[in-house]
Point group: C2
Chain length 461, copies 2
Amino acid sequence: MKKTYLILLAIFISCVTIAQKQDSLHIRKVFDIALTEGHAYENLRSLCKDVGARLSGSPEADKAVQWAKELLESYEFDTVWLMPVKVPHWVRGTIEEAGVNGKAMNIKTLGGSVSSNGKIEAEIIEVQDFKELKDLGEEKVKGKIVFFNRPMQKALINTGEAYGGCVNQRWAGASQASLYGAVGVFVRSMSDHKDKHAHTGSMGYDEGVKKIPSVALSIEDADMLSALLQSNPNAKGYLNVNSETLPDKVSYNVIAEIRGNVEADKIITFGGHLDSWDVGEGAHDDGAGVVHSIEALRIIKATGYQPRYTLRCVLFMNEENGNNGGKTYAAVAKEKGEVHVAALESDAGGFVPRGFTIDGNNEQLKQMQAWEYLLEPYNLHIFKKGWGGVDIGPLKEQLVPLIGLRPDGQRYFDHHHSDTDVFENVHKRELELGAASFAAMIFLVDKYGLGHTLEIQPIVD
Amino acid sequence: MKKTYLILLAIFISCVTIAQKQDSLHIRKVFDIALTEGHAYENLRSLCKDVGARLSGSPEADKAVQWAKELLESYEFDTVWLMPVKVPHWVRGTIEEAGVNGKAMNIKTLGGSVSSNGKIEAEIIEVQDFKELKDLGEEKVKGKIVFFNRPMQKALINTGEAYGGCVNQRWAGASQASLYGAVGVFVRSMSDHKDKHAHTGSMGYDEGVKKIPSVALSIEDADMLSALLQSNPNAKGYLNVNSETLPDKVSYNVIAEIRGNVEADKIITFGGHLDSWDVGEGAHDDGAGVVHSIEALRIIKATGYQPRYTLRCVLFMNEENGNNGGKTYAAVAKEKGEVHVAALESDAGGFVPRGFTIDGNNEQLKQMQAWEYLLEPYNLHIFKKGWGGVDIGPLKEQLVPLIGLRPDGQRYFDHHHSDTDVFENVHKRELELGAASFAAMIFLVDKYGLGHTLEIQPIVD
């Protein structure tokens, strides 16, 4: 009896060892393909240079949809299709000027901002946050341009956290300032990199407030303005932008699939967003995520792996100013009764990958952590709870575990939403390692599932 | 009795918890200073722009010694002094030309190479390694320029390993080719980055061989040449360099100390190398290590921490072509009977830090790994055996545990020894995080020692 037990144990251990060895070899193959015959870098070059910046509603966004569809079709996946998405259509104006005491500053109108309807001239009042604004009140604010100047906290190691700590100025600054009679808003760019490039991004207006224009200043100009206001509190600012919001348009999520071999009706979705801001080339945000996702599906196919579940690469439209692609995707999935094993996103740049975060339960976390030994040889060390991604976020309601690829974030906000988010600022190997890491994680999720909702039962590849 | 035991246990656990909490707060302080009031970036700017490239023996190396001494003195450490080091004095020529079929290529003469004594013209024979060279033999090689073109292996995750896999072509290619009667050597640059910049580096001649000149080709030119030789095996190469080796000179290791509070006669040495190649600005190699080391000592002082051991920052001279600074340092330490607790080095660039490797015994490794929980919040994950550093290497004979800072290596060889190793290619926060990580490790080594040769006994800071 004891002998039988020992034999069974030995067989079990052998099976596990063989499976681990197979996994290890398979992941090595994934990285080999990405690093020695990768397409990610050339695809990113093409997206950045042949298409360029691609804000929802723009002709370039239409071109990006076509670009992605044709590229995915060229790889001969099982299916490629377009999912219609209604998107907003905001357009940066032909006029974009602001300054102080007659001296021009480098600015970008924030996405969603109204036109200034001609040149506004007014005194400028600097505040660090909404509390300070409120304390100043209408008496001090009325008729002025409010300058939100709270910087990203340098001491935070996680730059995303530093961004989160000041982005409310960009999103809600205009609505808040408008409450007290301000006529316009200057916002310090959401960046920790001192240069001349202003960083755009989305903003919105609360219901019922008077809409006033809002623009981002470059970090150099924000520092200059703050210093100037110290010595000259009555300095006169000006602001002239003629951005506008046109009627909504129809655009598309671009989707490609490899059908599952065992449970084709269950889906692993992974993607990035195809739209970008209308400045730079959307290289890190989120050209990198787009080519990571395409490359992951291409590599998985190239390895000859037969997926258990259906692997679905989704290039979402409109993450930047509405997330209508993500919302539509989740709504369609719900309507069709689709079952998602997991959703993964790459939307944090094309930098060297550090690991993954999971927005899921403890069991799912534990399952992801069980793969650490397979990924540590590729310098992937972060396996913890955290952010999935904006596009896949709406799937959370359907209890889908969400996984985010975590590239190193130190340089991300140097370029984010600015003229410098271009192909030249993406490093080939860093991008390729991201694609391989993404592919490796998709492979593991497919092979083993994610925690208790699914069997943890390796299938032979 | 049992009660007494439990009370003692509770006291012990409390003490350990308090010490851990103190360590955690202290390390947070180190990172705060580096990121919010750091000097590393400005110091690196000054070293790169006010001093520039600084090959051993050059006037710029003299200037660097002066620069470092004055900077260290300005921080008012306990002692600053210069340790004389005899260094070689190789000088790149005023003529540096090579090409094929009359078309110029981008080259750098390798450090140590002899002059070509006028223009050499000869057919070119491409080989991948010394075995292939030997198989061709004198018959095929004599009178020709040998072109060593084995690339860095892209599939290797560790770029240092990829470098190690082909650097023998650079170091020994000329001696090997000379054995079979070659008249000159072209070497593919030790880089994986396709651009027009050739990468220099050290080479040497075996005793007795006829010395022939050796130059590095840019990756673009190496690929071009290889393709050309496919279609035109008789293509004619040319080579004209007039580099020379002058008599040895005296230079210096620049050293600063904070004296230990408990055991001042035991030393923790940490540093980088002050010399660089004579191209670019030696920003990553090893300006970063220089400013990491200075900043680490400055930060440790700024935190008010009283070190147990003497903390010694050593800016070594002549790592690039001789390592005479490292050898002299170890010889002097031996002669004086100095006891080193550990030696640490930063010589892998100013990129985002990933952790540390230790060249020591298992107990020392275990001790270093015990601190991982304190450093993981700063995204430091690598704590394993490995390389210490070239400069500290000669201390190994004295059984000193050697620790190397491990920044991310993906971009390192893009710039290494080339015109692009300039200040602009170093990222402020990445550099600062490196300095803080280095300081944190020095603090921990000082507070707890490293394994069995020393007591593991926290002292209150």
